[in-house]
């Protein structure tokens, strides 16, 4: 079977400590794939290795073409985009300026539609450091989405958001995957977001693959419960 984005045996070692070992997963267009696990499970490390931010082990394929080790800029131009655990925007630029910058870098695309969908119209001419944290997270998401990427790797996009803001974000993620046919890998601690938007979940524990399946199965999986709480009792 052919997948849009495939990661094989991804691994990472920090000075002898294994942070991630032999984790493989595939992403399909129009689907949000959740990557969950307790703190230190290796979720962010996985995205960092796969996106070329950190060197690591394993192989990455996009549309059956191996792209292992290509630079972050080449990866973005190929159609693979990512966000970061901490808000990663340009505080001194206005929202408009940074979206325009992203639009030019990613090769043109969907800025108008994006601004409308994320509700950023009112703050377009405001410097990013002047807008609320929730809006900054949306700008962050906008920067990742400009240029119609085919694959989107999101590292805790709901971190620091209120329940209401997370609910809005969940709606956006569903729309992005379904309407724009984007393959999304979502690393997230907010289980409300995960269970609302993900069609498939992969669970990591201590840097190793634990289990994969639909959210309903994962929710009651004893191994997952033990990984999170230390006991199935």
């Amino acid at each position: 079977m052919s997948f849009l984005f495939r990661c094989e045996n991804i691994g990472k070692t920090y000075g002898g400590v294994v942070a991630l070992k032999d984790v493989s997963l595939t992403l399909e267009s129009g689907q949000v794939h959740g990557l969950i696990g307790p703190n230190g499970a290796g979720k962010s490390t996985f995205i960092d290795v796969v996106s070329g931010r950190t060197p690591g082990l394993g192989r990455v394929f996009f549309e059956d073409r191996e792209i292992t080790g290509i630079s972050p800029s080449a990866m973005r131009r190929a159609g693979i985009s990512r966000s970061f655990q901490r808000t990663s925007i340009f505080p001194a630029l206005t929202v408009r300026e940074q979206i325009e910058l992203a639009n030019h870098g990613a090769g043109g695309g969907n800025t108008g539609e994006l601004v409308e969908m994320l509700g950023l119209g009112a703050v377009l001419d405001t410097e990013a450091e002047q807008i609320s944290y929730g809006q900054q997270r949306l700008v962050d998401l906008a920067l990742a989405l400009v240029g119609n990427p085919r694959v989107l790797l999101l590292d805790e996009p709901a971190a620091g958001l209120s329940a209401a803001e997370s609910a809005v974000l969940s709606g956006h993620l569903e729309e992005i995957a379904e309407r724009w046919n984007v393959a999304v890998l979502l690393v997230e601690h907010d289980m409300d977001v995960i269970f609302r938007v993900c069609k498939v979940l992969t669970v990591l524990a201590s840097g190793r693959f634990l289990v994969q399946g639909p959210p309903a199965d994962i929710r009651n999986n004893p191994a997952v419960i033990e990984a999170y709480f230390g006991s199935t009792a």
Binding site: S73, R76, N103, V146
Partner: protein
């Protein structure tokens, strides 16, 4: 909202706003009045201040655009000055020689920028210090070419860029020439910052990793910003050589770079014009303090510490606070 709206709504450069043009007009009038009424000593001081303002502008440009502090900008300044002196000695047409010098400075520092592009913070500053001292030692020791500590005399041509050669060595002539070049460079930097490339440079300064993940390559841009800054310092060096008619290794010494940095600290780099204001304050403060006491350097040091502690943003920082207060007061007044 359409893409077209985005494209047409770039933030205007401050220099293109009416307030910017008014400031430019006032500065032009000031230069004209000072030239007409100033004493020879005042004009000489102003000419030197205008030349060194360009050096401070180059250091400030790098600090503002790339968040990099250079301790070695005396090197491109000195290369500009020595290059001019040497090419004039070898009978190369003056205008061609000056352009050659500036292109060579850009090319050299572009290559250096490619090599040191990954450095930032204190590592970059120390490397520029070492680089600056390398050029200082090289110029001091290469006696066959540079005459070492004896320095070189600059043989001015009869005519340069359509002006009599002598004009470049008169205080009023050089004051006007340096002021025009300084104003042109300030305007160009403002326009650069308002351009897409300028915003990309600001993006790299603020979050280079994000810029990479937006699909850009940053290495060339960073090297180009460094080289542009060095070339501006080179322009200052060329003007210095033309005005002084003599160049010696002192102008490549790290302490010369240090003075430029003091000007940037005094003026601040929150606005493009900050280092220029800092250079003017530095020159007149130095003149005034050296009349008062032979220990003027110590007094200047105390002033520098006070500025750094009380107003970390220098003159531009104070201006920003004042502007915010005034606009806040206007808003409050308007709301009543």
């Amino acid at each position: 909202m359409a893409n077209q709206t985005l494209a047409h709504s770039f933030r205007e450069s401050p220099i293109l706003r009416p307030s910017g043009l008014i400031v430019l007009a006032i500065l032009t009038a000031t230069v004209v009045i000072l030239t007409a009424t100033g004493s020879r000593i005042t004009l000489s001081l102003l000419a030197q201040a205008a030349i060194i303002s360009i050096l401070a502008l180059s250091v400030g440009f790098l600090a503002r655009t790339a968040d990099l502090i250079s301790f070695g900008h005396a090197a491109p300044f000195g290369l500009g000055a020595y290059g001019t002196a040497l090419l004039f000695q070898h009978g190369i047409p003056a205008e061609v020689g000056i352009w050659l010098v500036l292109v060579a400075v850009f090319a050299l520092f572009f290559v250096i920028g490619l090599v040191v592009g990954k450095l930032n913070g204190i590592a970059f500053s120390m490397l520029t210090l070492a680089l600056g001292q390398f050029f200082y030692v090289a110029i001091s020791k290469l006696r066959a070419i540079t005459s070492g500590a004896d320095g070189l005399t600059v043989s001015l041509p009869r005519s340069l860029f359509g002006l009599p050669g002598r004009t470049y060595q008169t205080p009023d002539g050089m004051f006007i020439i340096a002021s025009v070049i300084l104003a042109a460079l300030v305007i160009l930097i403002y326009l650069f910052e308002a351009s897409r490339t300028g915003r990309l440079a600001i993006g790299v300064r603020e979050n280079e990793e994000r810029v990479l993940f937006l699909g850009y390559r940053t290495k060339i841009l960073k090297a180009a910003v460094f080289a542009t800054s060095a070339t501006i310092a080179g322009v200052s060096g060329v003007l210095f050589a033309l005005y002084q008619g003599f160049v010696s290794p002192e102008i490549v010494h790290w302490s010369f770079s240090g003075n430029a940095l003091i000007m940037v600290i005094l003026g601040g780099s929150l606005a493009v014009w900050g280092p220029v204001a800092g250079a003017l304050v530095f020159f007149f403060l130095r003149e005034w303090l050296s009349d008062l006491t032979e220990h003027w350097l110590a007094v200047l040091g105390v002033i520098l510490i006070a500025v750094t502690v009380a107003w970390p943003g220098g003159i531009t920082g104070v201006a920003k606070v004042l502007r915010a207060r005034i606009s806040g007061r206007e808003r409050n007044g308007g709301g009543k």
